[in-house]
């Protein structure tokens, strides 16, 4: 194995990027339909604890991940019902989900508090390929889900920009009245994509637990990575391929402090370094806020607004 520490950091960054990519893809799909779901952090935790418990009970990785996906969908359904049918405030609903998810995951995870991870999603053994300098650890050292996630992002991008349902999805987020006038149910599009987004987030949490987590611990499991994913969506201007780039960047910056500590390099304190992803996103937000940029690259125009048709 190549011992260049920075290469390893980068490889590690790519690994953790999987969670970020999955979660932000879920958020992108949801937000493209016009619904903002802030509950991602709570859904990640619920996905993580579900995967842990199922893995603990059955030692079956795929079943664990599958149930994590279902849990994510269930939580997303609650949000969908509240915001789409009952027209509640989307911000508050999402936050309520975070609180609920945080609490519930801690609650049901109490019985396995501190217990080490029962099963591990192993990286694929590529044999000699992983010994290639630089490319080896970066490309050939990941588990199947990570590779599928990258493919998934490609599929998401293709779906959004090259298919009919993707066109309708984008139109729903920008101009639901237009879509409605075409006889398409805005509510149906929103439900479908909110729940699909929830599935991806649940998977993100489950994967995180089983691939990178060491033990179930209530305090330090996901550590706000859900919020980073939400910021990542803005950074990526709601485009899946850019989300990959952002996720890798963010993933790298998240790992850098650990590497620096390990190498005894102390130019910047680790805590300051950990601020970087957030400050960087804030800077990008500003840039993306100019009216022209906002119109062409920015949020779906009607994001966060409930759609009510004028009845005649």
């Amino acid at each position: 194995m190549n011992s260049n520490v920075w290469v390893l950091t980068f490889a590690d960054g790519i690994s953790i990027a999987t969670t970020l990519i999955l979660a932000s893809l879920g958020a992108i799909i949801t937000e493209r339909s016009g619904v903002i779901n802030l509950g991602i952090e709570g859904m990640l935790l619920m996905g993580a604890v579900t995967a842990f418990l199922v893995g603990d009970g059955t030692h079956n990785i795929w079943l664990a991940l599958f149930l994590a996906v279902l849990v994510g969908m269930a939580m997303a359904t609650v949000h969908a019902v509240l915001t789409i049918t009952l027209r509640s405030n989307q911000i508050v609903s999402g936050l309520a989900l975070v609180i609920f998810g945080t609490g519930l995951s801690q609650f049901i995870g109490k019985s396995v508090e501190g217990k080490p991870r029962p099963v591990r999603i192993e990286p694929i053994d590529f044999g000699a390929l992983s010994d290639i300098p630089i490319i080896g650890p970066v490309v050939f050292n990941h588990d199947p889900i990570t590779y599928l996630t990258w493919v998934g992002a490609l599929i998401a991008s293709w779906y959004l920009f090259r298919t009919r349902p993707g066109l309708v999805l984008r139109a729903t987020g920008d101009a639901p009245a237009t879509v409605d006038a075409q006889g398409v149910s805005v509510a149906a599009v929103r439900y479908a994509h909110t729940i699909a987004g929830g599935a991806l987030v649940g998977l993100a949490g489950g994967w995180f637990m089983l691939a990178r987590g060491t033990a179930w611990s209530q305090a330090a499991t996901t550590n706000g990575i859900g919020w980073i994913a939400l910021a990542l969506v803005v950074f990526a201007a709601w485009r899946p391929l850019r989300a990959i780039i952002g996720a890798v960047l963010f993933g790298f910056t998240l790992q850098v402090p650990y590497t620096l500590q390990g190498q005894q390099i102390r130019i910047f304190p680790p805590e300051i370094l950990q601020m970087l992803p957030y400050l960087a996103t804030l800077a990008v937000l500003v840039v993306l806020s100019t009216p022209r940029a906002r119109r062409l690259l920015g949020a779906p125009t009607m994001l966060g607004q409930p759609f009510v048709r004028d009845e005649r």
């Binding site: 066109l167 237009t178 879509v179």
Partner: protein, 514 residues
């Protein structure tokens, strides 16, 4: 041969000849709360014809068009397509029958390209979209209909005329044979209007049929094969090209008995309090308000008539300081108020009764008392006690029906809300409002409330205030105004003294002919 004489179009039950019409309405009646929008209307559209529905606001033409495309369901009567009755349940259903309406306010996705907008929602769109394929499809189709557009352009960056073209291409792409265009020239600059007419000619040449819904007689008279005039929900006449001149058409459109109870000033007017000199407002590449000069004297009501959408709202906002003129000056008692802001303008003695009562003039969830303080000067603390006394005064004086002065304004009926609004703006302490700008004050009100409002405006005039009345209700303007100006496309096109007003000339001017 088709029986297209005015009598046949008006009220005949004979369905003979209807089979040759692409689209027809037979005794269509549509009611809304308090209004009979369409009263047994008959209408025929022949294949390849350009047929204009002409009328002022409230004439019922937009309602009829909405019925014809499936947006509304008629309460009585029938819609026929190629002679067979169809019961249209939705615009989508209308489209299935080849009928499409292009609305005044476009339904497009700004962020998408032209091609994406055109194909959006088309049922037979393939699952996989190839942008280049779509674009060439759309471009080819647009060429065929003589509407060149760039399929790759982003809609958000197009002009109003180009967007309208996209809407038309979209309708055609989805199989429309009949196009209903609602006030299509409202948002267009004159050169774009020409382009639109070229487009329409190209379409009818290929067998499409077009209905123009418009009040702009001057514009449509050349392009129309037939014109059906409506007023107050009824068809007043239907003529073929060349059968009637513009005066006759204007009369059909606007003609009314002038036996209105007119309220005219009984005293001489004072000096000019409000003056506009060559005021222009330039927005989005065109002049929404163009070189307007007018003045309003103390003790006079100046009425600005015109069909809505001709710059009335912008004029009101310019005068009241909510928008800044691009050029020209607005003065109150010879002091310029350009750009000093709405609050300052009010402090200079101007009151404003906007058209939108509950959404703009009043804060709906706040109480009557709280709303009373809205346009008054307030200190660091809000003095509600004084306002409450005043509110209770108004409630008694004007007979405002409300449980109390602390009722939320959104619980009041339209008429009562308007009374609150007027009371606040017209009557204020210390002679604060000398100039009053009122916009469509009696829209949607019942006869009794209309009476009260007119009485209040009359009293304001007698008290020496200068009143600028901007209203799309011509009757109202004729009733109250000492001088009448007609607004068309942002310009004052006609000015007349209230005493000896020639209603036909006014109607003419409102329709864009001078």
């Amino acid at each position: 041969m088709t029986n297209a004489s005015p009598e046949a179009a008006q009220g005949s039950h004979r369905v003979s000849g209807a089979a040759l019409f692409a689209l027809s309405a037979r005794r269509v009646t549509k009611r809304f709360p308090g209004i009979l929008a369409n009263d047994r209307v008959d209408f025929d559209l022949a294949v390849g014809e350009v047929h204009t529905l002409l009328g002022e606001n409230g004439a019922g033409k937009s309602t009829l068009a909405s019925v014809l495309c499936g947006l509304y369901k008629p309460d009585e009567g029938a819609v026929l397509r190629n002679g067979t009755q169809v019961r249209l349940t939705s615009p989508r259903h209308g489209l299935l029958n080849g009928i499409a309406m292009v609305h005044q306010h476009f339904r497009l996705v700004d962020r998408f390209t032209v091609a994406e907008n055109v194909v959006l929602g088309h049922r037979r769109l393939p699952f996989l979209l190839r942008a280049s394929e779509l674009e060439s499809q759309v471009a080819e189709m647009a060429e065929r209909f003589g509407l060149p557009i760039d399929p790759r352009a982003t809609v958000g960056e197009l002009s109003a005329g180009q967007r309208q073209r996209v809407e038309i291409v979209k309708a055609l792409y989805q199989g429309a044979e009949i196009l209903l265009l609602d006030e299509p020239t409202a948002l267009l600059a004159p050169p774009e209007v020409e382009k639109l007419f070229e487009t329409v000619r190209a379409m009818t040449a290929t067998g499409k049929s077009v209905v123009f819904v418009s009040h702009k007689l001057g514009e449509v008279v050349d392009i129309s094969d037939r014109i059906t005039v409506m007023r107050d929900g009824r068809v007043t006449g239907s003529v073929k090209r060349g059968e009637a001149d513009t005066r006759q058409l204007a009369e059909l459109m606007v003609g009314r008995d002038i036996n209105l109870a007119r309220r005219l000033s009984r005293s001489a007017k004072g000096e000019p309090l409000l003056a506009l000199d060559n005021v222009t407002l330039h927005r989005h590449g065109s002049d929404i308000v163009k070189k307007i000069s007018l003045n309003v004297c103390a003790g006079e009501i100046v009425g600005v008539a015109g069909v809505s959408g001709n710059g009335q709202r912008e004029l009101a906002e310019l005068v009241t300081g909510l928008q800044v003129p691009s050029s020209g000056s607005i003065t109150i008692r010879e002091v310029s108020i350009n750009g000093i802001g709405a609050r300052q303008v009010r402090a200079n003695g101007l009151a404003y009764v906007p058209e939108d009562r509950l959404g703009t003039g009043l804060a709906p969830s706040l109480t009557i008392v709280d709303n009373l303080v809205l346009t008054r000067t307030r200190g660091f603390f809000v003095n509600r006690r004084a306002a409450q006394v005043e509110a209770e005064d108004f409630i008694t004086q004007l007979e405002i029906k409300t449980p109390s002065a602390l009722t939320q304004t959104r619980k009041l009926s339209g008429g009562n809300a308007q009374k609150v609004l007027l009371a606040r703006e017209i009557f204020s302490k210390g002679d604060q409002s000398r100039i009053i700008v009122v916009c469509s004050p009696t829209r949607g009100l019942d006869v009794g409330a209309v009476e009260t409002v007119h009485k209040l405006l009359d009293e304001a005039r007698s008290a020496g205030k200068a009143v600028l009345l901007i209203s799309e209700d011509l009757d109202e303007v004729l009733t109250l105004a000492d001088r009448i100006l007609v607004l068309y496309r942002g310009e004052v096109v006609h000015e007349v003294n209230g005493i000896s007003v020639d209603v036909e000339a006014v109607g003419h001017a409102m329709a864009g002919l001078s």
